[in-house]
Symmetry: C2
Subunit: 152 residues, 2 copies
């Protein structure tokens, strides 16, 4: 039984994810952003007020992870939290002006990372790649996780 990293999808995907994250970080750190914060910002750049639970649903990260990320974002002056008058439990998150102002350069940075990463592929290969990534994510999504199917 052999295990080679060159033929292991998991190995390659993990490797690639670290490289993507590193590349994004070098580009957005100078603006005061970080990789974990980025998906939250993307959501808030589209609709400026969202609940923490809404963000969790949209981004697909655990609630505790989101709470920590939002804490850092608040510490760094990117967001503010307001008590909802309707429901005493919910905190409405909204971007500060500082956060809003980062939209264009930050999105450009992310697009640039993607362009650069895929620059070795032909346009057809890029479409294939994105399609296959989405398809594999989809496959995962079906059982979400869980043990391997028992073989007969």
């Amino acid at each position: 039984m052999t295990f080679s990293r060159q033929t292991s999808a998991g190995y390659l995907v993990n490797d690639l994810a670290r490289r993507f994250a590193a590349a994004l970080q070098t580009r957005i750190k100078p603006m005061g952003l970080s990789t974990g914060v980025f998906p939250v910002m993307v959501q808030l750049w589209e609709r400026t007020e969202l609940t923490q639970a809404e963000l969790v649903r949209r981004i697909g990260v655990e609630q505790a992870t989101m709470a920590n990320t939002l804490s850092r974002m608040h510490r760094d002056g990117l967001i503010e939290r307001r008590q909802s008058p309707d429901d005493g439990r919910v905190q409405v998150i909204h971007l500060t002006e500082k956060g809003k102002a980062l939209r264009d350069p930050a999105i450009e940075a992310a697009l640039s990372v993607n362009r650069s990463a895929l620059s070795g592929l032909t346009p057809e290969e890029r479409d294939q790649f994105l399609g296959l990534l989405a398809k594999v994510v989809e496959t995962f999504g079906q059982h979400d996780d869980g043990p391997p199917p028992t073989d007969p």
Copy 2:
């Protein structure tokens, strides 16, 4: 300027990496292994004695990350460290019997995750996918990181 997760390679790769890690973890945690430890074990299953610096080179993680991972592995009884008689700086890492015994089930677990993840793809698509992943990793490797090329 728009940013959609469905068309962002970085977003998809990051998402996928988390899913792969979660799936692997549920399978190997019962054996006392974790995702960060796995690549180290793979190396040590092939040659039972390696230097920390060797492991860093082969696995491509930072030296500090490796030091921490090895600490946990030692704490959990997977490895032992021996002073090298030739060079007073180096610690030779070698597997314990417990670590050696995990080889077959752990590798089977990882192969199973890959099989399961790619089960929605045709054999041709799987080859394409692995090939494209390797190609993109390659592209990253060339400049390793760095700012986007200045456009004229």
